[in-house]
Structure formats: C-alpha cells, structure tokens
C-alpha cells in the first residue's frame, strides 16, 4: 500500500517545541510509571474466577449468557439462534467455525459467510440478517467485553448490522481486563506486526441515555447480544 501524506508538520511541531521552551525532541523514553493500579485487578484470579466474572459482567450489560462444553456447542448455538428469532444469519469467514465443529450448521443456504470477493453484496446480506455470529479474540472478565480484530474476512459488519450478535467465547480467551488486551496489542506493535484496521472492544448491545437519561437498548447497532462461553477443545 502506498504511504500517505503529512502536511504542515514541521512548522506545527516547531511551534509546540518553542512554546515548551526547547528544540524538538528526537528521542523520548517512556518512563517507568509510578502508578499502575490496573495490574492489581483480578491479580490472583483463577480461570474459573475469570469465567464467573465474565458471565456476571456480561449479564450486567444486558447480554444473554450461555455456558457450554465444546461437545454441546453446536446444539447450544442452534438453541440460541432459534430462541432469538432464527435466520437469516451472517458469519465472519473464520477457520474457527470449522475447528469448533460448526461448519455443518452454517452450510444452510440461509446463512451467508462473509466473502470479500462479493464486495458490497456482503453488506446488503448483513443488513438483512437477523443474527450475526462471531468469535471473540480476547474477552475481558471485568467488563464482559469481547474483542475482535477485524479485517477483510473478520468483517466489522457481522457484529454491527444484524439485530442480534452472538459471540462464541473460548474460555481460554478470557483475561482479567483491558490491561491484558492492550498489552498484547502493544506487543504486536513492538514486534512490527501489522495491526488490524479495526480492533473493536464490544460490551453488549448498543445503547443510549440521551433522552432524559433514560437508558434505551439498541440504538444504531445490535438490539440484543448473546455470549456463548465454551470450554476449549
């Protein structure tokens, strides 16, 4: 991809440096922060403690939560889909669906698996879908948040346009809080890995409190959310 452009940088930064009473800084080392309370949250929690906290936090954010073992995942997902109004369904193009034994379920002609080659047709189908099914890449116990690293296959639309999003949460993806997730991304940046165009932290259905501070669920994004936590294979 071609590099972008930068306009007016030197004059702008020189003015800042001048106001700060020095020349432009060429090297700045990040200090060792004196205060780091974030690392103490759930410091000694076991994976079961984190799972319990994740489920509790998800429920507090108006998310329906199901726990299941891998052997029952397909059945559980079918139940969830039925309970929340059935198809049409849209999913990301994700090898994990096959790894978790869900390929057969999505062979249904009513299900659209994201296919970048079809261009904007994908968006039309996602808009018409009742349910979008995705995997969580990192899951935050403290806030019941799922994290998605979106790209051309793990499309943003799947969690955004349908009425309901259903996220499959492998138990091993649950970490204490945002601290661990951002640490991981920081590590990716430091090692020179390319970042996804969108790293999306999602905590339940969209909501607003803009009218007399009355919280209304489902504004522009999904109206319902389901987290299916699955014991890893």
């Amino acid at each position: 991809m071609a590099e972008g452009t930068i306009h007016n940088k030197d004059a702008f930064l020189n003015r800042i440096a001048d106001k700060l009473g020095r020349k432009q800084s060429e090297v700045v080392a990040l200090p060792a922060w004196k205060h780091q309370p974030q690392w103490s949250v759930f410091e000694d929690a076991s994976s079961d403690d984190l799972l319990a906290a994740f489920c509790k936090s998800s429920t507090a954010k108006s998310v329906f939560v199901k726990e299941t073992e891998l052997a029952n995942l397909r059945e559980t997902l079918e139940e969830v889909i039925k309970k929340h109004g059935g198809g049409p369904i849209v999913t990301t193009k994700d090898a994990r669906f096959s790894e978790y034994g869900l390929e057969q379920l999505f062979s249904d002609p009513e299900t659209h698996i994201w296919n970048a080659a079809l261009g904007r047709r994908n968006v039309e189908l996602a808009k018409q879908a009742n349910i979008g099914v995705i995997f969580s890449d990192i899951s935050l116990a403290e806030s019941g948040t799922i994290v998605q690293f979106n790209d051309r296959d793990i499309a943003r639309s799947v969690s955004l346009l349908p009425v309901v999003y259903v996220a499959i949460i492998p138990k091993s993806t649950i970490v204490p809080r945002m601290t661990q997730a951002t640490q991981l991304v920081h590590g990716l940046v430091k090692s020179g890995k390319e970042l996804s165009t969108c790293i999306n932290f999602i905590s339940g259905p969209s909501n607003s409190a803009d009218i007399e501070m009355d919280i209304v669920i489902g504004v522009h994004g999904p109206v319902e959310a389901v987290h299916i936590v699955v014991t890893d294979k």
Partner: protein
C-alpha cells in the same frame, strides 16, 4: 467563532437560564445521577482498588505526554501515514475546515455522516461542509435531536441534549421529521434509528472526533455507546477524524488507563459499549472499511497553554466529571457559558482557546469550592486555574474603577493602621444600609451580591478587640 454560543452578554445569559425552571431541574437531576453513577464506578468499586491511585496514574501519563507533545505527535503522524493515512496539521479552525472541504470536493461528496465530537463543533465543521453543498447528518442521538431542532447547541459535554425533555423532543421529531409516535424514549430512539439506517450505508464520507490517538501505532480510538461511530467509520469510502492536538497517548498500555478513567468518570461505566480502535487500511480489498483515511490534528489556540501555568488544562479528557459537580453549572446550565465547553473546564479552556475578550468572564462563574479539582480524573487544579484567569482578566480587562478599588484595598489590607481603622469604622459606615441585622441592598461592589442574597452586618466587636479582651481574662 463556532465555539461561541450566542451573542448575549454573560450576565444576560445567566439571568435567562435562572428563569428556565425545566432546564434547572434537568441539570440538577442529571448532575445527581451522573455523579452517583461515577461514584459507583470509582471510589465505591472495590474491584478496581484505590481510585486515587488511578487518578495519579492518569495525571502521570497526561503530564508526560504533554511535556513531550511534539515527539508523540511526530510519532503518531509518521505511523499513521506509513499505513496509508493522510495527516493534516491545522494551526487554526479555518485551516482545518478548508482542508476538509478540499477532501470533500475532491471526493465529490454529497452525504456526510458524523459521530458526536466536540472538536468538530468547535471548528464549525457542519457549517463549512454545508457551505460547499454537502448534507451533513449528525448520527449520535443527542446530536441528531439538536440538529433537527434548528441546529440547537449542546448544553453538556457528554449529554448534549440534556436541556430538552421528552415532550419537546417528540414535538421536534413531529414538526421536523414527520414523527407520529409518543414521547416514550424507546419509541423516539427507534424512530431515529430508522431515519439514519440507510444514511449510514449511503454516505460518501464519515467524520469523527478522536478520544485518544495512539502514537506508537497511528491508531484513532473512539469511546462510545450507541454504535453510530462504528457505522460512520465502516461504510463510507472516506473517513476523516479530527483531533485536538493534545488527545494522544504514547502506547496502547496508556490507552487502557485513559479509556478506563474516561468511561468511569463520564458515564459511570467500567467500559463503554464500544471502544473502537481504527488504524489506516491494510488491505485494499476489505469491503467494510474506508479506502481513504484522513487525520486532522488541530491546534486552534491550544498551544497558548503550553509552557504556561495553564498547560495542565490540556490534560483534560472531556469526561465532564467537573461539570457534574459544579454548583454554578447546576444553576445556570450549559448554554449560559456561551461556549460549547461548559462548566469548570469550559471556564478554564474557553479563555485559552478563544481569548479573554469573549470568554474572560467565565472564570467568575465558579464558587471556587474546588469540587471540580477533586472530581477531575487527571487531577487538573481547575479552581486554581480559574483564580489565575481572574487575575489575568482583571489585570487586562478590568474597569479602571475596579482596578483603583482593588489597589486601594491592597494598600489598606497591607497597612495595619489603615486596616484596623477600616474594620473599626465599618459598622458606622454601613449603618444606613443595615436592617434587621443584615444588608439587603448594599452600595458599590456589594450591589450585585445583595441583589440576590443578604449580607451580614459588620460586627461591632471585631476579632482583634475580642481576642485582646479574651487574652486579658475577659469573657469570650
């Protein structure tokens, strides 16, 4: 200047606000609720540990970032452009709007969707885009309400339509958008959703602000609840994000702390529904990501604070925690400030960004109780900065009579014999104004005070004479 709300003098705006009973009740109720939620998510949340430790972490990060602002802005712009994004450093609001107009013209854009952002409000971006024939759609529910209500202005940084009740919103929807439903918030919200659904998918350009930019990766982070910012940044082919030059963090690790301080302080949530982190496009064949990404980094007066006693005002993360505890904002609401930035932080920031001519009176809209400084998650000493603004304003703009009075007071207060004489003589001087042991209509500088409340009459027995008598063994 777009930052300015109305042309009325400050005290006229205050008088108008004090007569608006609905607005005052709404502000008080919103303050109580937002403050309660914040307390539950901060000092009362045992899970996160010591909230003061979090505030110190925030202060430490913000101070380091601002002290090295040029370095991190350079790093941000290099990383953003390396990934294909375009960066424009804008010294003024006009520079920023001109650049965005040029992009819109080049893209032949007609429809533009916008997510809520104070900085685009500050530079008058909607007006600039409408000037070149674009149709701009505000998509945040509150901003949508304000926009269709003849471009009303925000009255709160986080909850911009706080001054309107649901009946007023129903009437606006009915009169301006053909709504036929009730005043029920769910129904009103569903109507806004249906109105904007197709617009999101058809827009040529999506515009956002920026809660934080991550220097190490060239990432723009948006902290939201509604999902509209995700829509705005997913479907249009071109995305433009505008950020105040101070809104950045060095790395993703600091983003964690700042997002948590913002979510908890602003709306009392551990984390908002969406934290959307956008880095310019990596794969040109993605279907639902912008193909072109512009970042406009704005000074517009912010550098006036650098290297001065006001530098820490730039640490602000726009959570409005200070607004939600301010006893003055509670009474006069957001519009009375005459600036899109209201409350204590507005009274500190507005004179920095827009000068004392337009905003020099705002620092006087404070009781100096320091509740704002206590509430600030990044420990900006707001009440101290308000006092400093007052000093500068009086030195620069104060009336000659006021300056002479202050000078005379200075001489009197620093000369013991004059001070004692004034204290002893005060009861006699004020006697004509005293009625029932209080002054209801005082002269000169007391006039404004006593037009609202009574002033206690000066005591015959002043402290020094009491103390002398007490020391000599008399009764207290």
């Amino acid at each position: 200047m777009p930052m300015k709300i109305g042309e009325q003098p400050f005290f006229d705006r205050v008088d108008e606000a004090l007569e608006n009973d609905f607005m005052r009740t709404a502000m008080a109720s919103a303050q109580d609720r937002l403050r309660g939620r914040k307390l539950d998510a901060t000092v009362n949340d045992e899970q996160i540990g010591d909230w003061e430790e979090w505030r110190s972490a925030g202060e430490e990060i913000r101070r380091h970032t601002l002290e090295n602002l040029d370095f991190y802005l350079n790093q941000l712009s290099e990383n953003f452009s390396k990934r294909g994004g375009h960066v424009y450093f804008a010294e003024t609001a006009e520079d920023a709007t001109r650049y965005i107009q040029e992009v819109a013209k080049r893209k032949n854009a007609k429809k533009i969707t916008k997510a809520k952002s104070m900085v685009t409000e500050e530079i008058g971006l909607n007006e600039a885009l409408e000037e070149i024939g674009c149709q701009v759609y505000e998509t945040d529910l509150a901003e949508y309400i304000l926009q269709i209500d003849d471009h009303d202005r925000p009255s709160h940084i986080v909850v911009p339509s706080l001054h309107k009740n649901k009946e007023q919103i129903r009437d606006t929807f009915r009169d301006k958008a053909g709504y036929t439903g009730t005043e029920e918030p769910r129904e009103l919200t569903a109507f806004a959703r249906s109105q904007l659904r197709e617009v999101f998918l058809e827009a040529d350009i999506g515009v956002t602000g920026c809660n934080f930019a991550v220097a190490e990766s060239g990432t723009i982070s948006l902290v939201t609840n509604e999902g509209n910012a995700n829509m705005v940044t997913t479907y249009p082919e071109t995305q433009i994000s505008v950020m105040g030059m101070e809104r950045l963090v060095p790395t993703w690790k600091e983003l964690d702390v700042m997002v948590n301080l913002l979510s908890r302080s602003a709306v009392g949530q551990k984390i908002t529904t969406y934290i959307t982190n956008l880095t310019p496009q990596l794969e040109e064949n993605s279907v639902d990501a912008p193909k072109e990404f512009h970042l406009v980094i704005l000074d517009a007066g912010r550098s006036n604070a650098l290297g001065t006693e006001f530098q820490s005002a730039l640490h602000c993360i726009r959570c409005a925690a200070c607004v939600n505890v301010c006893p003055v904002y509670r009474q006069i609401g957001g519009h009375a400030y005459g600036s899109i930035y209201q409350g204590p932080i507005g009274a500190v920031l507005s004179p920095i960004l827009g000068g004392y001519e337009d905003y020099g009176e705002l620092p006087f809209a404070s009781s100096l109780c320091a509740a704002c400084s206590e509430a600030c998650p990044v420990r900006i000493p707001l009440h101290e900065q308000l006092i400093r603004h007052r000093e500068i304003y009086v030195a620069q703009k104060g009336k000659v009579s006021e300056k002479l009075a202050m000078k005379a007071f200075g001489i009197g207060a620093s000369t013991p014999s004059l001070f004692q004489g004034a204290v002893k003589g005060m009861p006699a001087i004020m006697k004509p104004f005293v009625k029932n042991d209080s002054i209801s209509s005082g002269p000169g500088p007391m006039k404004l005070w006593t037009s609202i409340r009574d002033f206690p009459s000066p005591e015959q027995n002043n402290f020094r004479s009491w103390f002398k008598h007490h020391k000599d063994g008399g009764d207290s």
